[in-house]
């Protein structure tokens, strides 16, 4: 068996006239995390659905945990866990019954099922709510139960489809902790997200999807070096100050870009100390500033840069 736990080659999926995925190739080595980054509609969930055997690709092949998703669906399903964007739990059943049900369906005895359920409830801080119907759970609890449900069978590969979308910041941090722990235990993870920050924090490698195509892939560092750095966004009080401001910034060794309609100057910087340089440069030519902010590169920047590179 080779050491790729996910190996998808030339995956294309068409829904009628719409091509949701176009010759997508991804490889995820055992024990690593792939971050699948993209906006809504980029094709992330479609790829997850194909890799988790929910539906077959139109063309292309995929192996997960060593088994072909089209031919050996049951083998694949027995080795993966899936947590989607919406909690897939039975609202009528209690937390513990939800987990016991899954363990039993996977072949556990009643006693084993109960033990595994208790273990996971404890792990996800749900012991106190174990006997309550899942419909009474908060959004964050429901997502934790959902993730617990996908871990019942101790999967080799886990798919997390936007695991933190819609969560409050605290629950998001909790979810990140759980993912890091999973990885620490040797699980292979494919994670989809719209947040560069999340992919940066969790993923060993990132694949950027746009309109069903892979537009970039590499480590977070590689990707960021392509995208560039943090930038200082300056909104000028009066747009006619822009030329003077640009001249002064350039004199300080910076490379501002003007967004004319918004009277906004975007200046890439290396360190936050450069923020002071920007302020000084603007002050020297007495340019009045309406707004000033230091921003991290966002998914939008990734997209913009990639689009620009392609056009160039």
């Amino acid at each position: 068996m080779n050491d790729l736990m996910i190996e998808a080659t030339g995956i294309t999926k068409a829904f009628g006239d719409v091509t949701a995925l176009d010759a997508v190739t991804v490889e995820v080595p055992r024990g690593s995390v792939l971050g699948l980054l993209g906006h809504n509609g980029a094709g992330k969930t479609t790829l997850v659905n194909i890799l988790t055997t929910m539906f077959p690709p139109t063309s292309g092949t995929a192996r997960v945990a060593g088994f072909d998703v089209a031919r050996d669906g049951d083998e694949v399903r027995g080795r993966i866990g899936l947590t989607g964007q919406f909690a897939s739990v039975d609202e009528q059943l209690s937390g513990v019954d939800n987990l016991v049900l899954i363990a039993r369906l996977l072949g556990a005895t009643r006693r084993e099922a109960r033990a595994r359920a208790d273990e996971l409830l404890d792990l996800f801080d749900l012991t106190a709510a174990a006997k309550r119907a899942a419909r009474t759970y908060s959004g964050g609890m429901r997502r934790r139960l959902d993730l617990a449900a996908s871990l019942v069978g101790r999967p080799d590969v886990i798919f997390l489809d936007e695991p933190t979308t819609g969560l409050d910041p605290e629950s998001r941090l909790g979810m990140w902790g759980i993912v890091e722990e999973l990885v620490g235990d040797g699980t292979t993870v494919l994670l989809t997200t719209q947040y560069l920050e999340e992919a940066d924090r969790l993923a060993d490698a990132i694949t950027v999807l746009s309109a069903g195509r892979v537009v970039a892939s590499g480590t977070a560092a590689e990707l960021k070096s392509q995208v560039g750095k943090r930038a200082v966004h300056v909104t000028l009080a009066s747009p006619q100050d822009a030329p003077a401001a640009i001249v002064s910034l350039e004199r300080h060794g910076l490379a501002p870009v003007l967004d004319e309609p918004r009277a906004e100057l975007r200046t890439p910087v290396d360190t936050s100390a450069d923020l002071a340089v920007v302020v000084r440069a603007l002050d020297e030519v007495r340019v009045e500033v309406a707004e000033l902010a230091l921003t991290e590169p966002s998914l939008d920047d990734v997209y913009l840069t990639l689009a620009k590179n392609k056009a160039a």
Binding site: M54, F55, D97, L101, G107, E181, D185
Partner: protein
């Protein structure tokens, strides 16, 4: 989050999966458990037929004196076997609606990600709904005996097969509604389809009045209406009237519907859930 037990632990063997029979048993158990934990559902589902029983038995009780009515039969004894059948049909519709709401609440998405046969999910739902319908009909029968003086000539030995026949028809139709649910996937549409199909079928049949008493055009509809045959068979059993080949015909038609329903339901259900 302190212990590291989330991931594959090499010491523990992977569970081997389950056969279709255990899958069905486990999933049926799951649905029946929610029946026990939430008995309101059964109580409410009995309420509507009870109200119909009350209204019809009062409003139409004079019917028993008209010429087209079987001699010596009270209206409640005439009505109750039909109510068993129509309640069974209503329950069959609920089965389809239940499937759609399971699709909404995400359980089915979870079950789909497991290494189990998807048909098990449908069979389990159908079986647990069968138990629920049986419970519903028993409650209704007891209420009819206690509250409305239901005491048909066939006695227990007549009512039991009438009850079983209504149950069989309901089970067969539940597969049709499961099939519709698996394809339509929308609870509101299901309600509308159910309502549009049920009411004309119920009234243009022998359920509430003898077919002979209907206007000529409606009599034609009632004569071709399959519900008439199910109701007649169930009623003749309960009232100890000659059944002819009515029971056999009703069972044969049900079996046919069931086979069609199962094939269509499984095919519809196996389509992806995500669009």
């Amino acid at each position: 989050m302190t212990t590291a037990t989330v991931a594959p632990t090499t010491a523990l063997p992977r569970w081997r999966g389950t056969g279709v029979t255990s899958q069905i048993a486990i999933l049926t158990g799951r649905s029946l458990r929610s029946l026990v934990s939430d008995p309101k559902l059964v109580i409410f589902s009995v309420l509507q037929p009870l109200i119909m029983l009350l209204l019809f038995s009062q409003v139409f009780s004079g019917m028993a004196n008209t010429g087209s009515f079987p001699a010596g039969v009270t209206y409640i004894n005439y009505l109750m076997p039909a109510i068993l059948v129509t309640t069974g049909i209503g329950a069959a519709l609920q089965s389809g609606i239940g499937l759609v709401s399971d699709m909404k609440n995400g359980v089915l998405a979870r079950l789909r990600s497991l290494p189990i046969h998807q048909g098990s999910v449908l069979v389990a739902r159908s079986l647990s709904d069968l138990v629920r319908t049986a419970l519903q009909l028993v409650i209704l029968l007891v209420a009819a005996v206690v509250l409305f003086d239901f005491s048909p000539a066939g006695g227990v030995l007549g009512v039991l097969p009438a009850f079983l026949l209504a149950l069989a028809v309901s089970w067969a139709l539940s597969w049709i509604f499961l099939a519709i649910g698996a394809w339509v996937r929308n609870a509101e549409s299901m309600q509308t389809i159910g309502f549009l199909a049920m009411f004309p079928l119920m009234f243009a049949s022998s359920a509430f009045v003898p077919v002979d008493g209907l206007p000529a055009w409606l009599r034609v509809v009632a004569t071709v209406n399959p519900l008439t045959y199910a109701v007649d068979a169930s009623r003749n059993l309960a009232l100890d009237l000659p059944v002819g080949n009515g029971v056999a015909a009703a069972l044969a038609a049900s079996a046919l519907l069931m086979v069609v329903g199962i094939v269509a339901a499984v095919r519809g259900f196996r389509r992806s859930l995500s669009f």
